[in-house]
């Protein structure tokens, strides 16, 4: 793995942010970003499953026959989720009350199966680990940002809108639009730069 590849993989969580760019794993992102604690803890659980599923799947990528690779991936992910579920329900009962239902739904979070299919099933262990960490951090950052914005808005405007599902939809839409605008302006700047350089060369 050379430096260029490492950089590309490690920045994957930012450039290909699972929530804002790939638009994967929307259900937990909207449902459990109602306050910052729920958001951060669900983000951590998801990142844990993502990192370990990436590592295990890339270790087993030669042993899993191609025809049954999807069921095999799902079973690996589901077993990891069961581990997290057991841990949370026995050590963190309060957290289990607030995000318990969504921990079992990590199994069907598209980010995890998506990374397994697109990356871990084709790459060696170390790149898969880096990809998992980067994507996991990207997801934690996105969901925690949303949680923070929604909690702030709830404090300002009172509860009843921004801590409900409808507020989640609207805040995510607005934040996504802001990100789109930022990405577009960055791209525009880069384009102008290359045009200037081309002119100078000419």
């Amino acid at each position: 793995m050379n430096k260029e590849e490492f950089k590309k993989t490690a920045l994957g969580g930012l450039i290909n942010n699972p929530v804002f760019v790939l638009v994967l794993g929307m259900c937990p992102t909207i449902a459990k970003s109602d306050n910052i604690i729920n958001a951060l803890s669900l983000g951590l659980c998801t990142a844990f499953v993502l990192i370990f599923s990436n590592v295990i799947i890339s270790l087993l990528r030669k042993a899993i026959p191609d025809k049954v690779h999807l069921p095999a991936y799902i079973v690996i992910i589901a077993s990891l989720v069961t581990l997290v579920q057991m841990f949370v329900s026995s050590f963190l009962p309060d957290l289990n009350d607030s995000i318990g239902a969504f921990i079992s739904l990590i199994t069907v979070n598209c980010i995890i199966l998506g990374r397994a299919e697109a990356f871990a099933g084709k790459n060696k262990v170390l790149p898969s680990l880096i990809d998992g960490v980067s994507m996991g951090l990207g997801f934690i950052a996105a969901i925690t940002l949303l949680g923070a914005v929604r909690q702030l808005l709830t404090i300002i405007f009172g509860s009843g809108f921004f801590d409900k599902t409808m507020g989640g939809f609207i805040v995510l839409g607005l934040v996504m639009a802001v990100f789109n605008a930022i990405f577009a302006s960055v791209k525009e700047k880069q384009r102008k730069k290359t045009v200037l350089i081309e002119r100078e060369v000419a």
């Binding site: 079973v75 589901a78 199994t107």
Partner: protein, 198 residues
């Protein structure tokens, strides 16, 4: 006694379709809701496919949990068992649709396989088990949630078909405007939460 049971069934139906709509009130099952809601025709097909999978999957999961996992006290394996049931059901549906309706099959595309990872299916199976419903109630819950999902999907598709004609600000094009639309729809559906049959 029978009256109580009947009322419980009615409240399951109302809550599944309106007051506790799976997409707009619980934000479960967002991927197909945002992905397949561009055309009304494929939205209807997707809604029916998901309704079928949710209903059959929650019934099969209920049977497996009640007669296998619970007696052997290995309830903690439920996530693994349920996801296997759902994945095989979707595979079956895939084969059946390919044979019976190739046009619908091609319009659903990759989202058909993605029903496996639709949170609404696993979420319903889990919630049915955790509420301790009986078999008939499970069947009705599955149907009601599926219909609620279909209603939300078709409404959304209708709105997005109209939206194509309007000049949306550039950063909002695509998913952001769809999310804001969904938020406004969710507000409307939140109005139903005053309905109560218990």
């Amino acid at each position: 006694m029978i009256m109580d049971y009947f009322l419980a069934i009615i409240s399951i139906v109302i809550s599944g379709i309106l007051t506790n709509n799976v997409v707009l009130n619980q934000s479960i099952g967002m991927c197909p809701f945002l992905g397949v809601s561009k055309k009304t025709q494929s939205a209807i097909g997707m809604g029916l496919a998901v309704t079928f999978v949710i209903t059959v999957a929650s019934c099969v999961c209920w049977i497996i949990y009640t007669f296998i996992l619970d007696p052997l006290s290995i309830g903690y394996l439920s996530t693994v068992a349920f996801i296997l049931v759902i994945a095989s059901l979707v595979q079956l549906l895939d084969i059946a649709l390919k044979k019976m309706s190739p046009t619908l099959y091609s319009s659903l595309g990759v989202y058909l396989a993605l029903i496996t990872t639709n949170c609404a299916v696993l979420g319903t199976a889990n919630s049915v088990i955790s509420q301790g419903l009986d078999f008939f109630q499970t069947l009705i819950t599955g149907l009601a949630i599926g219909i609620g999902f279909t209603v939300a999907l078709i409404l959304m598709a209708g709105i997005r078909e109209k939206q194509e004609l309007y000049d949306v600000p550039k950063p909002f094009r695509g998913f952001p405007i769809a999310l804001v639309t969904a938020g406004i729809m969710a507000m409307a559906f939140y109005g139903f939460s005053g309905l109560s049959f218990t």
